[in-house]
């Protein structure tokens, strides 16, 4: 029984990792067209880094991800605090909507924002993409921070008020420092969501501002290419390192 369990778990992991591993290996394959091994090379990586359009797209992606993560962390934290601290009309609706937005298929979010931007006649590009990514990320930050807020003794906020703190001071000196780890987690989550997104970017950016996933998408549609292998290998490596570091970071926190 125990052996069966180990075998099963191993099979699932092989399924998850084999394609990624193969791609990484082939990013070093000298052969351009065939899958047969023709010797080790770094050519594709060199080629990759000399592709100016691709590098620009990568920079754009990083820029959008950092900005979207920062904006949605601020906005999401304020929303979470408002939901937890204050009773106001539409509070329940907003709470439910955040959950629904988190579950919404990307394509629904993408086309609804496209319709909004068209209705406002905003040209698709940097700003529309940023707004779209913030919209994608805010619910995740809110729910993360809100969960953390619920874990606190509500009397802590009352104690601060009791000791003379106004609403802003409560936020600045008590709520924010207490939820900061959750805000940070929300920031990383948002960054990853933004970097990974294909569908929403597909609808909400224009030719003036290209991001990496869309660039990859247009390359991948044309079939296998060794430099795409190299690019994907780099992205896998970055993700693995980021996950590893964040796990370490979380462990030390708790």
């Amino acid at each position: 029984m125990r052996k069966l369990r180990i075998l099963y778990a191993t099979l699932v992991f092989v399924f998850l990792y084999l394609p990624l591993g193969v791609m990484v290996v082939y990013s070093f394959n000298a052969s351009r067209f065939s899958m047969a091994w023709k010797g080790f090379t770094l050519d594709w990586y060199v080629k990759l880094f000399s592709n100016a359009a691709l590098m620009q797209a990568a920079l754009n992606s990083l820029l959008i991800a950092a900005l979207a993560a920062t904006c949605s962390s601020i906005l999401g934290t304020l929303i979470a605090m408002a939901l937890q601290r204050w009773r106001f009309p539409s509070r329940k609706v907003i709470h439910t909507s955040l959950f629904v937005m988190m579950m919404s298929p990307d394509i629904v979010i993408g086309i609804s924002l496209l319709v909004l931007f068209m209705a406002l006649s905003l040209p698709l590009g940097f700003w529309t993409l940023l707004m779209a990514h913030v919209t994608l990320c805010v619910p995740f930050v809110s729910i993360t921070v809100y969960g953390r807020l619920l874990g606190f003794d509500p009397h802590v906020v009352e104690a601060a008020r009791d000791l003379g703190a106004g609403e802003y001071e409560v936020f600045r000196h008590v709520v924010l420092p207490m939820v900061f780890p959750a805000v940070l987690a929300g920031w990383f989550l948002s960054f990853t969501l933004s970097i990974d997104d294909v569908i929403i970017s597909f609808f909400t950016t224009g030719p003036t501002f290209e991001v990496l996933p869309l660039r990859i998408y247009s390359m991948v549609r044309l079939g296998l290419k060794p430099e795409v292998n190299a690019l994907c290998a780099i992205m896998i490596l970055i993700t693995a390192v980021a996950v590893f570091v964040s796990q370490r970071f979380l462990k030390e926190k708790s």
Binding site: Y8, Y17, S97, M103, P105, I111, L114, M118, G166, F203
Partner: protein
Amino acid sequence: MKNDGFFKLAVIVGVISWMAIFAFVPNILVFLASFSSTSTQNFIEPGFSLSNYARLMDTTHLSILLSSLRLSGLVTVICLVTAYPFAAILARTRKPLRNTLLLLVVIPFWTNSLVRTYAMTAMINSSGIVNNVLLSLGIIDTPLAMMYTPGAVVLGLVYTLLPFMILPLYAALERLDRRYLEAARDLGASPWRAFWKVVVPLTMPGIVSGCMLVFLPGIGMFYVSDVLGGAKAMLLGNFIRDQFLTTRDWPLGAAASVTLTVLMGVMLLLYWKSAARLGGKEA
């Protein structure tokens, strides 16, 4: 202290207006668009008619809708059946090893899904690993044509979405108090019955949220169909995208999107029901 009320008011007004502009208005616009008609000048001619929904129900469109639902349903079932025992094994593994294994699930979870879809092509295309292995083992003589088939799309979706099923199931199973299981056995339930009568109901919120996280993207992830399924639109996502960007029939695309939203609503209700039955909190 002086601007006390101002801070509170500013935050509340900000939150409500942001939600209104980016969450409610866009969806209302899509909803309205689904009842309007196309025109040559504008994408949308305001009006009220059910014709877009009627068009969605005609044979060609309906077959796309149904086949997409069937495909995604199949993907969900495969993921659930694969992930449940796996998550259970994970939840029973002892601590240091379990954290490592969990990390190994989280890495593909966070890896760009487009990258992962692409990785699958290297496995199954005519000169890919699978064909190479089968050929060299002499099991087949000519490469199997696996790319650009519904099967390839299913495989690609299962591959990209499996971690999204594993993690909620793992969370539910890990939280499951083993004493319930012991109590059930103590009261005379067989392991099989204890599983169906105790474990499954108690992990139902995890099952439903896992299914939701697989089923809904499984309908919308058009790039998986593009990369692995070829030119034929196999998912509702491709259909919606084409209406908006190629055919420019926004009202029809909007109607399809509303249909998808309604589907999500139904699944969310299911989720809340299953969570409420356990007396749990939402989310």
